[in-house]
């Protein structure tokens, strides 16, 4: 016999649909309109960073309670974030504020999805931002996005493991040439230590473009001729091919795993060097302490460092402009936004006023992050076709890491992107696409 509290009333049994609808209505009703609710989307990064963003949102809500503003924060994983934004844009359901990776600002600004921010920033505030941050968010002379931090990509190393293999790291602040790097890998491999982690198991395409464009750049090549939107001939230029071939060699000679399972083999002591970014700095310092060393990425010619990171933009169609701007200021202001974020993710603060909070930035590895930004940083290409470009380039790199022929695979990628560009901009590229 069913206990009395489990007996469903007969009416409900006969019309379960009614019951379900009522339950759902209650669920929906709980979400009923309150004061101003600001929808904010963020990509899902490392847990520490996500946590920081949540706390920043909570602080914002507390500080603006009198105005009735509440931030509703949603996270989306990297690998589908761009698609999600496209879907939301198509659904005209973009959030009020969202963050996006630097190179994508051009694409969204191009179709009029972003609200220009120039009018909301005083000159003094502008001066406080790092120039790379402003450059990243500016399209055609207007500012559309602001980041709280800039990124850094470096080669971490374990001093002990290197010493064990008889490898001498370079002078502090200097990097290896590619040949020196390969020699170091050889020695490590002979000593039975896996030389370098390249994180080939990253699901987001952007990792590949971000992490390995510097190889192409240092060799003297580039991914796209931005101003005329031409890819044909760029990826298969002699310099680019040379760069990617050198990169492929790392896998062919067993210096790096093509299919790693762990997300952090360097931290676990399995690998001697880590080709990774600022987001691992705090974690690595914690695990390795004094054993941790850092150097710029190996170069095939002119050293090039990656930069550019997530930045915040306001939807052109937002109905909560005031609140949206307030959030933007909050998350990019030194005290309320930059400091908590950088504390969590070890990136380079976007605002000079924030540097005072980070004395540790005088030392390695952070000192290198900052130095790179000023000397060899190069942003990823700002073009409306970036999403396509990164998608194809990443796919090509994945295949190349497993032995595909470099030139033909890059040509395929090149052609695919060029075809799309030609379709969209026939007049602009008709002549220009002949290299």
């Amino acid at each position: 016999m069913t206990p009395c509290f489990l007996k469903i009333p007969d009416g409900l049994k006969r019309y379960p649909l009614v019951g379900i609808v009522c339950w759902l209505a209650a669920l929906v009703g709980a979400h009923a309109a309150q004061d101003v609710r600001l929808r904010v989307w963020s990509h899902q990064g490392q847990e520490a960073e996500n946590h920081a963003v949540r706390e920043i949102a909570e602080a914002f809500n507390a500080a603006h309670r009198d105005r009735g503003w509440t931030v509703e924060l949603s996270f989306f994983p990297d690998f589908q974030y761009t698609e999600k934004l496209a879907v939301a844009a198509a659904a005209r359901d973009l959030p009020d504020v969202f963050d996006l990776d630097g190179p994508l600002v051009a694409r969204f600004a191009d179709v009029g999805l972003l609200k220009p921010l120039d009018e909301f920033l005083s000159d003094a505030e502008r001066a406080d931002f790092l120039p790379t941050i402003l450059a990243q968010g500016t399209v055609d002379g207007r500012l559309y996005a602001l980041g709280s931090f800039d990124s850094a990509l470096v080669l971490y190393y374990d001093r002990e493991l290197l010493a064990r293999a008889g490898v001498t790291p370079p002078v502090e602040g200097q990097g290896w040439s590619w040949d020196e790097f390969v020699k170091a890998c050889e020695k490590l491999k002979t000593a039975g230590i896996e030389p370098v982690a390249l994180h080939m198991n990253e699901s987001a395409d952007e990792w590949f473009t971000y992490a390995f464009s510097p190889v192409v750049w240092s060799a003297g090549g580039r991914l796209i001729a931005q101003d005329i939107a031409r890819v044909r001939g760029e990826l298969t230029s002699e310099a680019a091919v040379r760069g990617v071939r050198a990169w492929q060699e790392l896998f062919a000679r067993g210096f790096a795993a093509t299919d790693p399972v762990e997300p952090d083999p360097f931290g676990q002591g399995r690998v001697a060097m880590d080709w990774s970014g600022h987001w691992m700095a705090r974690g690595h310092l914690a695990t390795k302490g004094d054993r941790l060393g850092v150097m710029p990425l190996p170069s095939l010619g002119t050293p090039a460092a990656a930069c550019g990171s997530w930045c915040w933009a306001i939807s052109a169609e937002t109905k909560q402009q005031e609140a949206a701007v307030a959030w933007l200021r909050w998350v990019t202001e030194a005290e309320t936004g930059v400091v908590p974020l950088v504390r969590a993710n070890g990136a380079v603060p976007a605002r000079r006023a924030a540097f005072a909070h980070f004395p540790e930035y005088e030392q390695m590895p952070y000192a290198l992050f900052r130095a790179q930004l000023e000397t060899s940083a190069r942003p990823r290409p700002r073009t409306p076709f970036y999403a396509m470009l990164t998608h194809r380039f990443a796919a090509a790199l994945r295949d190349i890491s497993r032995g595909a022929d470099v030139e033909s695979r890059l040509r395929k990628a090149e052609e695919a992107v060029q075809r799309v560009i030609d379709r969209k901009r026939p007049t602009k590229t008709a002549e220009a696409s002949r290299p």
Binding site: E83, A86, V111, D259, H391, D399
Partner: protein, 296 residues
Amino acid sequence: MTAWEKQASRRAIWFLLPALGMLAVFVAWPLIRAAWWSVTDADLLATDDAHWIGAENYSDLLRDPRFRHAFLNTALFAILIVPLQTLLAMVLALWVNRPEPAWRWLRTVFFLPVVVSLPVLAVVWTLLYQPEQAGETGLINRLTSVFGFADRAWLRDPSLALPALAAMSIWQGVGLQMMVFLAGLQGVSREQLEAAQLDGASAWQRLVHVVIPSLRNTIVFVVTVTTILAFRLFVQPYLMTRGGPDDRTLSLVQYMYETTFLNLELGRTCAAALLFLTWVGFLTWLQRTLFNEEKS
């Protein structure tokens, strides 16, 4: 018509309205829109700004190597899946077709992967197909090594990735087709079977001459449905290989998805969708005429 029938006739519209209304709004209308957009250069974010370009999307697609590639991959997938899964399903149905309760559990066993949905299994099998890295191997490689096969990077090898996906899909879906065959087996005439047995026919002969012919309609049904399902391939490559390696597991639907949300080309996607639909229609027609389905 009688008075009652007249009344019934009038009522009919109310009976039909909900379902047909929904079909009209959510199926027919999108289909019409797709047809319209397919002959324009509609952009995903600017659908009102679409211009007529005639059959350009279609001719472009048919000449696009990537589209052809996606189609061939999907076709290859179907060619792998349909015969194998149908055959396996029939074999399993015959095996499991025993009334004794001691055999009941076996049906559930084969049906279980069907219940566990595809996205869940796609994720699980990515782990299962893991090649040896840092001392750890996925289950599949362990099992094959028992038979003496070398370790393989199933999902990373351009020639193995699609068959690996096919194997996983067959494993997942065979239970459902098995159930359909089981149902069909119940309809095999007892008298014919007994008559054949009395005539001295062996089990094999009974199978070939009595059982299979009476399963004819079921076989056609299973083959048609499986083929269409095969061409709708999306989740497995999207989650397991993202279309790689070297675009070898790029499916038609993923191509359409990327064209929409990465290239923002709505018109082109709709053209691809309609080509897809035409193909599915053609296949259905082909299979029905080829097997000359008997109406019973």
